[in-house]
Amino acid sequence: MTGNIVGNWRIGLVAAVLLLLVGCGGGEDGLTRVQQGNLDGVLHFGNGTEPEGLDPHIVTGVPENRIVSALFEGLVTKNPETLEVEPGVAETWEISEDGTLYTFHLRDNARWTNGDPVTAVDFHWSWNRILEPELGAQYNYNLFPVVNAEEYANGTIEDFSQVGVTVLDDYTLQVQLKTPTPYFLQLLDHYSTFPVHRPTIEAYGTMSDRLSPWARAGNMVSNGAFDLTEWQINSHIRVEKNDTYWDADEIDLNAIVFYPTENLVTEDRMFRDGQLHRTQEIVLDRIPVYRAERPEIVHIEPWLGTYFYMFNTTKPPFDDVRVRKALAMSIDRNLLDESVMQGIVEPAYALVPPGTLGYQPPKTFEQSADRARELLAEAGYPNGEGFPEFEILYNTQESHRRMAVAIQQMWASELNIMVTLVNQEWKVYLENQDNLNYDISRRGWIGDYVDPNTFLDMYVTDGGNNKTGFSDPRYDEIILREAPATLDRDARYELYREAETILMEAMPILPVYTYTTKHLIDPSVKGMPVNIMDHVNYKYIWLDPDA
């Protein structure tokens, strides 16, 4: 029939169009983005989520940090192998006997990307900016060890000259601390303490204007190893080697392109397709496959972070320490590691991850279902009888659900108690935690700097990050007064061990495992060691096309 002829003719046309489209798409030159990058010295970096911004004083996230630390440099930087501080803008520094007075000698060849010298005045103005109450900088507390910094940020004093930061001359900056804060140098590699370029900020707004566009490509002036050249939101951020950087001769990379890779599966495909040198994550289910087929690209290392559950200690039955202990002792962390986490994590029995620059957390309890049942019986629930129904709250994510299901099973079989699982969208989950509107909630914490304090100061009485109702006067005394005043590292760690023992004996939290960082890294990437902070120092990276 005529209809058939028409149909066939059309089908042919469609086939032709489709073939044409497909033909256009073939990578005829044969080089993937990674291979091309290896030749051009361009690193393609999967960076998790889209950064909210690049103003070092306003951003708060990890993806932001990884870009900001390529663009700016603080007084010190960190060695990617050891995480010990190395000179940054400051060439040398002295610390007074009592550990409270720091004198930084800035190098005279540090430059902004527009050629201006980086001086002590820049740091003074920048620290003033982040402490400015109107800016609303969430990480301003990193400078609170400095005399009067907290008072200025809270508005109790209004004269910044009373804050313990003094410009002795263009290249000498003096910082007076309230108490010797042994991890203070570590903080100076945190973006909240980075310098920003005053003339640029004032060209686009005032000192405390959050909404100013100064930190965009084309506007930004920075002082780091790289210069911001392109930023297309939700697509990529490109930074290029900054020739005015004082150590530019040592930089091998010509450029870095950061990609927001929110969707883990997409990121995985991008890596397999040769579009990324490095992924931010590895899809959990694919780990065994990669380990078997391409072990050289799998990089799984301990991370300075703990995955835990927390109890609402203001609410029965979790106001009873015996109940909390029973729940903590009855879960089999090794089994959770094997069954849920593909065997890549370390079971945790305390809050601080082991090996935080030499600190070893106490182990106050062992897994013991028998002891757990005894404790539960002592608390008035023999064999789980009469135990009220309760909920585990977690933010919506598949891996958290799997963990909660496994723990639910363990409590049911070992203690004969029933728990329901509740997942909530991130912001709702946060709000319910803040209001102590939960029974047990999943939580994680990643350290800001390498010191036990970044974990332990969460649980001071009424601390903003406490969220459990836990309170202990001796604990507060150690964390707030004794430890910060103790100069000797061993003595201080001893105090932290005492505090952490108090915490774990009261058990407002139930540690589950120590986080690991999981990256796929192309073998061509050299000089990017994986470390406990997941810290990347781009100065050390080079690409080897022959690897």
């Binding site: 029939m1 002829i5 028409v6 169009v17 109450p133 697509s235 990609y259 991008m270 969208e425």
Partner: protein, 311 residues
């Protein structure tokens, strides 16, 4: 006809205003705020943040300030991207989403109309069943399944096409366009099949054949015009749907379009961004519905007649 256009346009204004008002208050009663984060925020910092975004004003005042700004084309600063304005972000994402929508539409129309026409020419035969079953699969298959499947086959196994990106490597626009267009192609196939069937059974078709016109001329010149009417009135809403519904495809393929802004904004409680994108998309949807109404009225004498007499 002009009365019809004026009437429908006026009708659109209260619709858009209602969308703005409802969205404005809904986002503010949603639990969690734009500044809540995992790390505690001190009260001083929170107060400063609220002042910077005028959240310290009474609610009604915020509402009227917002409306006044909006009337001047200012959608306010984004909460989630400090230093970026909502209107700028929308303008940045729109061309990409529109381009994606356009290609998806092209895919949908070409494949859909062809499949529908082919099926209608020989109803209840194998030539009908195959395209229509495929269309059924297309309607049922969600984009979050189709996208990764296409990527797996054409991106990873055959290695013909890039697995992600938009305009950064040759051919990377093909898979997203097909993924997004597939469902609409399926709808269009069913619509054009039924439209064609109705037309093909009309008397004037027999007349056309009887006067000895070749088959393809009959179909293309006479049948298509009437048979595709339902498709045309579907195009407006479909295009609006493509623009507002591209989020999943944009996420799968790492495309920096409007859809991702929209959904990210909701999760982050980026009040101004939620409002801006919702208002913008609502306006678009209303606009496209209007356009397709006008187009249908212009093409369909029956409707045109009804309006010039009735209202």
């Amino acid at each position: 006809m002009w009365r019809f256009i004026a009437f429908r346009t006026l009708q659109a204004i209260p619709v858009i205003l209602t969308v703005i008002t409802v969205t404005f208050f809904l986002v503010r009663v949603a639990p969690g705020g734009p500044f809540s984060s995992e790390k505690a925020v001190s009260p001083q910092v929170e107060a400063a943040l609220e002042r910077q975004y005028r959240l310290d004003l009474p609610m009604y005042q915020q509402y009227f300030t917002y409306l006044a700004d909006l009337a001047q084309g200012d959608m306010g600063p984004s909460f989630n991207f400090p230093g970026q304005r909502v209107d700028e972000l929308i303008l940045q994402g729109l061309p990409i989403t529109a381009e994606l929508g356009l290609y998806a539409m092209l895919v949908a129309v070409v494949i859909g109309v062809l499949a529908g026409v082919i099926a209608a020419l020989k109803p209840n035969s194998i030539q009908d069943y195959i395209p229509m079953s495929l269309a059924m699969v297309g309607i049922c298959m969600p984009t979050f399944l189709l996208g990764p499947l296409l990527v797996l086959v054409f991106g990873i196994w055959f290695d013909w096409l890039p697995v992600s990106g938009w305009g950064s490597s040759p051919g990377d626009k093909i898979l997203p366009s097909i993924t997004l267009g597939a469902m609409y192609a399926a709808y269009i196939a069913r619509l054009s099949r039924s439209g064609m069937l109705e037309v093909l059974s009309q008397d004037y078709m027999r007349t056309a054949r009887a006067k000895g016109l070749p088959g393809h001329v009959v179909v293309i010149k006479h049948a298509l015009r009437g048979g595709l009417l339902p498709v045309i009135s579907y195009l407006g809403p479909a295009f609006a749907g493509l623009l507002s519904g591209s989020f999943v495809v944009e996420t799968i393929f790492q495309i920096p379009g409007l859809g991702r802004f929209y959904v990210q904004a909701a999760f982050n409680r980026d009040y101004t961004m939620i409002l801006g994108t919702t208002t913008f998309l609502a306006t678009l949807i209303v606009l496209f519905n209007l356009l397709s109404d006008f187009l249908a009225a212009w093409l369909n004498p029956r409707l045109r007649y009804q309006f010039s007499k009735g209202k």
